[in-house]
Every structure is written in structure tokens, then in C-alpha cells.
Symmetry: C2
Subunit: 301 residues, 2 copies
């Protein structure tokens, strides 16, 4: 039951209160892929420039990630992002963004990927998300992310995309922006009214909320002191969630509830080190151990 | 197993996005008492001025609240607070504070209250908290709250108080201020190093964290769209928590974990209407129904 992700690959430079990382592997599709690869082989569709270091390609290849859909485009430059985290680690300033190859033509979905059953459309232009979805029209589960740029500037396009997907995974501030609702339950209901049959609203260090037509589930983040770099936490949450669902082959209410626990735990590993340094060495057994701790913490009787 | 609370009683005027309430009953001890009275009779120690309306005294008396320790001081005026909530309901501006009688001599703990087994020292000057504690020296469980004013301006006094209590219930921002730790787990550990054997860090709409020497428990808030006035949520959380513990007569790790669920649920009722309008009509059965829903939400397997 193959899982396909399409989104950004990038070269990040960032500072947190715990240190600085220069020119490290980043991007939404990358963090998603490493989180999902703990559960299942991941098909990655994305594009980088010719400056993309061979070492980074090797790093991706070292995971359970199929790179047949990774285009290395001659004459183009890789997406770059640079940011600095505040002391509280829940907020950050973007210091520099160079879209580079992301502003050019989208990568192609290889024909061999067309039979993917689960599809994650990481944050990008909503029209492009629909184009990608059309290339994997037989997917049983299609989930997307989005961001403020599309919510404010390309709302109609975004609404068309939302009408076509099964699920939306989104930040709390963006859920509020998208719906105009301050209360997150109200925001979740408004999102379901836009098409998706479920939505996950991510609250960073405060956890996540899953809303389906049936019920609301709110869970905290996995409690940890060990936060070195929050970059990619949200994308690896989505990766853990959809990786788990793909491996299970079930997408019902109970499976979704278990899946947000897996997303939470996967994100808790991602933030323990810069870039993919920690997550790339995490095993399914490591995840299950934390899932056990976490569900026991929440079982109060 | 009587429960005693000492803290402020006041007259509040407030505005939320849902309306305005003029000259309504408020104060930390009041919100605590109504939350706790769902579980057990509450002994209240506090002082008001001669302007305290008879109707407000009657309102207090209508709950399961023993007013033998409520002093109505001639020639003094009742504490007044006025505030306005932001659209997100998790932040507010204080428009006016008149300490009035709270700046005068403390109320006396009646001798008949000296045998109280559980004691909650709501937010006030830490030296006064110790004085109150000395008057109920035989208490089996003493828990206090505090605020930024004492953390920054009377730190040594506060540390002496913390060395004497069993538990501290505190807001997240104040926990960070008290300990200098940005991470809440680290802040909780630092608080345990100051004396208390447990601490609860309240995160408003994001829930609460309980830390004991044994384990960390993080739970979300009870999910609700029905938020009219968050005033007193934290105090009624403490009331529900200690009311439950008093009724149980057990203060171990498992009891504390169940108690924060009760605090969470009690707070979810408090915020559904202004002042004590909702909480004063809540029954133990109402609470148990929500506790059942909440623990089922968190039981993920």
C-alpha cells in the first residue's frame, strides 16, 4: 500500500537556543518522508537544483525512501530557508527565503507512482496540489497541508483543493485564519464544512486536535525536555500519522485516533536534534515504546 | 475531611467577546469554593468591605460553603477588578484594580476551622500564606497558588512558603518566571526542587501538566465551543482538584492524576457563563458525565 508525498526539499540554515546548523537538509517533504519511512516505504516527488549536495541525496537514499520522483534540475538552484527560533522554541523568525526551483515548473509524478494508495500533498500552491492529486487519482486517502500565503492570497484555489481531499492537517494559527474562528473546535467544524472528512489542527508544543464527523480528540504533545530544533515537527507529525495509516491499511475513526498518537511520538523524536539527524535513526520499536508511555499517561481511571 | 480555602472575594466588571458583566461576584476564593463545593463542604476564609452586597453573600451561602470565616469589615471597601478579554479568550487586559480591604489586615481563621485536613492558599502575599498555614498546622495536604507580583517582588518570602507546602498550582507563564525555565517539564522539576512534592502547571485553553516525583502527566483542556467568560477557570480548576481529593481522602499519585481531570472538567463548566452563574448549578453527576467523556477521549488503544 504505497505512500506518496510531494512537497519541498530544501537547504536550511537555522539557529535555536541550543545551537546553529548551517546548510542542512530540510523541507516539508523531507521531514514527512523520514517520519513516514519508519512505517513504510515512501515515494517522494520533488525537485532540487544542481547545487543539491550528493551527500544530501545519499542521506535521503539511506532511509526507506524511493527517489524515483526526485528531479535534480540542471541550471536551477535548490530552495533555501534560514530562520532563528525564540527562547520559547514555539516561535521563530524567518531570516531569509529563496524559493529558487520551487518557483519554477513542478516536478512530474512518475507513472510508476500512479498506483499510490495514500497521498500527502505537503504545503504548496493549491492548484499544484490538485494537479498532483490528479496524477494519483486512484488514491484511497488524500491529505494536504497548507499555509497562510495560500489562505490569504489564493483562497478560491485553496477551497477547490479542500473540496477534493479527505483530510487537512494544519497549524492552529492557520486554521483560525482559514475559518475566521477563534475557537479551535469551531474552526475544525468549519473546515469539515469545506470538504475534508477529517482535519488535524496542530498546536506545536500544546499538542494536536483531530476532528472527524463523529468526534473530537485532543491530545497533548509528548512531554519532553529534549528539544533542540523544532523545524519539521509538523511535517514529521504528518509523516508519522500517514505512515502509520498506510501500514495499517485502515483509515477509520479509531485508526485516525491511533495515528495522531504516532504522529505526536514521531515529532517528539524529530525535535531532539537538528535536521533529520535524530529521526533517521528511529526504529518502529523506538516509536512503539513511546506510544506505550504516552497512551499510559493518558489512560486515567 | 474538611477543606479550607483562603483567598480573595471581589466584585468584578468584565467584558468578553460574548458580552459584558457589571459588578458580579468574583475572586480566587469564590471560584475555588464553588468548584470544590461540588464535592464537599468548603470552609471559606476571606474578608470583604461593608459595600459587599447582601445578594452576593446569599449567593455564596446558597452553595455548600461555610461562611463562618467570612469577615464583613466595617469602614472598608471590597476588592474590585475590572478586565477585558481579547478575541482569543486566552489573554486579557486588566482595566482597573482596587485592592481596598485586601491591602489591610488579613482575616482570621476561626478556631473551629483549625482541624481542616486540606488547605488551599489562593494567591496572596506569601508571608500571609504561611500565617494562614500556621493557623491550620494539622492539615494533611496544603496547596498554594501564586502570581507574578510575588515571584518578582517577594521571591525570598515565596521560596519560604514553597518550602512548607505539599503542592503548587501555577500558570505556565508564572512557572517560567519563577524558575527561569522556558521548557515546562524543566520548570516543573525546578519547582519540585523548591519543596512541593507535586506541582500543577495550568496552560489555560491548552490544558494542564501534573508533575510528581514519580511521573509527568499532561492533559488537554476539555474541548468545548462554549466559552463565555474564562474568569476563574484556574481557581475553579484548583477547587475541583482539591474538592475531589478531599472527598476521596487520598492524595497519592493516582489520586492526583484523577484530580486534575476533575479540575479540568470543573473549569469547563465555569467558563460557560459569567461569574459563578454556571458552576453554582453543576452537580457531581454533571461532572462525572464529562469526566467519562474526557477519559474516553484520552483512552486510545
Amino acid at each position: 500500500m504505497p505512500l506518496l508525498v510531494t512537497g519541498s526539499l530544501g537547504i536550511d540554515t537555522l539557529e535555536t537556543p541550543h545551537g546553529r546548523a548551517e546548510e542542512v537538509l530540510g523541507g516539508s517533504a523531507v521531514h514527512f518522508a523520514f517520519g513516514a519511512a519508519i512505517y513504510t516505504r515512501v515515494r517522494l516527488v520533488g525537485v532540487v537544483g544542481e547545487d543539491f549536495p550528493a551527500a544530501m541525496r545519499d542521506l535521503l537514499a539511506s532511509g526507506d525512501i524511493d527517489l524515483a520522483g526526485l528531479e535534480l534540475r540542471k541550471g536551477s538552484k535548490t530552495f533555501r530557508w534560514s530562520g532563528r527560533y525564540h527562547l520559547d522554541m514555539n516561535n521563530r523568525d524567518t531570516l531569509d527565503v529563496q524559493l529558487n526551483v520551487l518557483a519554477e515548473a513542478a516536478p512530474k509524478v512518475p507513472e510508476t507512482f500512479a498506483d499510490s494508495e495514500v497521498l500527502f500533498l505537503a504545503n504548496t500552491h493549491p492548484a499544484l496540489q490538485r494537479e498532483m492529486r490528479a496524477a494519483v487519482a486512484g488514491a484511497k486517502l488524500t491529505v494536504c497541508d497548507t499555509m497562510d500565503l495560500w489562505i490569504t492570497g489564493h483562497r478560491e484555489e485553496l477551497l477547490r483543493t479542500l473540496a477534493e481531499v479527505d483530510g487537512l492537517i494544519i497549524n492552529d494559527s492557520e486554521a483560525r485564519e482559514l475559518t475566521g474562528c477563534g475557537n479551535l473546535i469551531a474552526a475544525g467544524e468549519a473546515i469539515l464544512g469545506m470538504g475534508p472528512r477529517f482535519t488535524v489542527i496542530k498546536k506545536g508544543e500544546h499538542g494536536a486536535m483531530l476532528m472527524t464527523g463523529k468526534r473530537v480528540t485532543v491530545i497533548p504533545a509528548f512531554p519532553t525536555k529534549d528539544v533542540k530544533d523544532p523545524t519539521g515537527a509538523g511535517d514529521s507529525f504528518a509523516g508519522g500519522m500517514l505512515g502509520y495509516l498506510t501500514a495499517e491499511g485502515k483509515y477509520d475513526d479509531d485508526a485516525l485516533r491511533r495515528a495522531i498518537v504516532h504522529g505526536t511520538v514521531v515529532a517528539s523524536f524529530t525535535i531532539e536534534d537538528f535536521s533529520v539527524n535524530r529521526i533517521r535513526n528511529v526504529t518502529r520499536a523506538d516509536v512503539e515504546e513511546r506510544v506505550k508511555q504516552f497512551t499510559a499517561m493518558l489512560r486515567i481511571e
